[in-house]
Amino acid sequence: MFACLHGSGALTALAFEFSPVVEQTGPGTVAFDVSGLDRLFGHPQEVAAAITRRAKEVQVKANLAIADNPDAAICAARGFSGVNAIPHGDEAKFLGELPLELLEPSPELRETLQRWGIRRFQDLAALPPLGIAERLGPEGLRLRERARGEAERKLVPMEEPLRFEDALEPECPVDLLEPLAFLLARLLNGLITRLATRGLATDELRLRLELETGATHERTLRLPAPSLDSKAMLKLMQLDLEAHPPSAPVVRVWLGTNPVKPRAAQSGLYVPMAPEPVKLELTLARIRMVVGDGRVGTPELLDTHRPDAFRIANFGAAKPRAAGRPAAQVRLALRLFRPPRQARVAIASGKPSFVTAEGIRGKVLDLAGPWRTSGDWWTADPWSRDEWDIALSDGALYRIYCEEKGWFVGGNYD
């Protein structure tokens, strides 16, 4: 069973909502395969009614015809206005009154048929096939078959444009995040369903909120792995909007996704445990809400000798590599004070003899130093310091240093 839409509007998008096999027959004409929809809707008339309802919703103005073969449906949609369902076996009778131009014959053939006085489908359908084959050749036979509504052929399917985005305009501006979440859930569920039906997933969500003031609030969420978990994505968007709320009530919501192939990797039996990527992203978003942005991630050492030089990178799935080997011996660790504690240091014979800082007070029992370090003197942010390792009478070992601004306790050895 085939349907054809002939008119104006987003015909292709409407056709794709009902079938994955859609042919762009010509400008303003789209034919599509609706076999199997009878099990969902019932009789062809009910299938036609469902398509018409949806066409009204998406403001498509078109004639609709349903027939057993695509050419009959195309001719009916082009020749009759409104909705038509051609009964099985009645194609020739149904299409009989249509003008022959709808069959789009070649100019030579059209001239010949006009000279013969053939102007309607029924005139051509009544001619004997043998005679047509002798006088008009194979093209004439094909034309006769189409005029009788008996032509069988396969549709030439078009590629569906892979754009997974949707928009929604609430009846009144939304100024709270909770009602906004309902709109987002509706958009997201629709997009995820569309992705899932095509065997795809997404690794990026793009949200654009048009505000009452005319401004636009845009957010982009990148997922660590392709996913179809709409609940986790919705929660991530909620947490992101809580951290970065729009400045004015929202009048339009637009959501786009990046379609990618789903992750098809299967974990090995002996692969060490690791958090599930999307769940981890959700957990990290929740932790960021507690501790703040930029405070959660993987430490990466910078290529410099500057003390305490690191940056925080996104924590993701580390690439599998050969099992590492920890240091053969336990290493003495340094616990840093961030920020370093300003200290007052008494000097005796050129060496620190007594140290006082916040929470630290004691006589220096043993010490080593000073160790001078400096660098970046060629930049606007140079550093230079003299470091000492000291054992204080409070029982702890500290690293103290002296720089331009004075003495500081940098941390303790533990």
Partner: protein, 259 residues
Amino acid sequence: MRGAVPSGLPVTELRPHIDTALAFLYKLSTGEEKANMGAAALREQFDSFLGGPLDWRARPHPETVPSGIAEIDLPRGGLTEIVGPASSGRTSLLLSILATATARQEACALVDAEDAFDPGSAAAAGVLLDRLLWVRCGHNAEHALKAADLLIQGGGFGLAILDLGDTPLASARRISLTSWFRLRRAVENTPSVLVTVARQSLASACASLVLECARDRAAWSGAEPSGPPASRLLRGIRARATSTHRSRTCSPVFTAAAL
């Protein structure tokens, strides 16, 4: 009933013993032997069949993971506390545990209440930093507890660490016992190891293992203390980690070497 089952038999050879046990249990259920057998005799029969008395109340030993220091193994699905004063070797022990866990390719998380973690020291100790999630809580123990709870509830980490090592005792003690129970319950029956570092034991009964660190001495090299300090070096510390838990007693000594 036959005698005790010899231990170490392959499964195929155990089959006759299993059949005998099933036949015995069938007789019991049908009352053939119940009538002329008291409870004590029944237990004796059962014990003899199993090869010795069973302690039915005893819990199975949890799976353990190495810490990088001989004698110290950490229980999976349990809470391990590392306690001690500053410079007692707590963090050196912690980095050793972290290095061993990352070498096993496990994902690890460190919730750092006081921003005290030094990535440079960790890298030198053999920690694979790309397998470490570092949560900096900016001197807020309450945030650290929340973050640790979220991480453990999320699951998937082989090692989760809550570092309260520099948190003032007054703040650390404000963490209620209920919170510690919640953490223990979250990690129970999972393959994760939860480690906390603090000045004193905070979780009390919730901890599966408590390691108390104390520094024996610091090792300095070079001239005497009265000599020129530029010719001296801090070589490391010698520390002792004593397990004070009822079920595990050990007191290994380890040396943390400075770079």
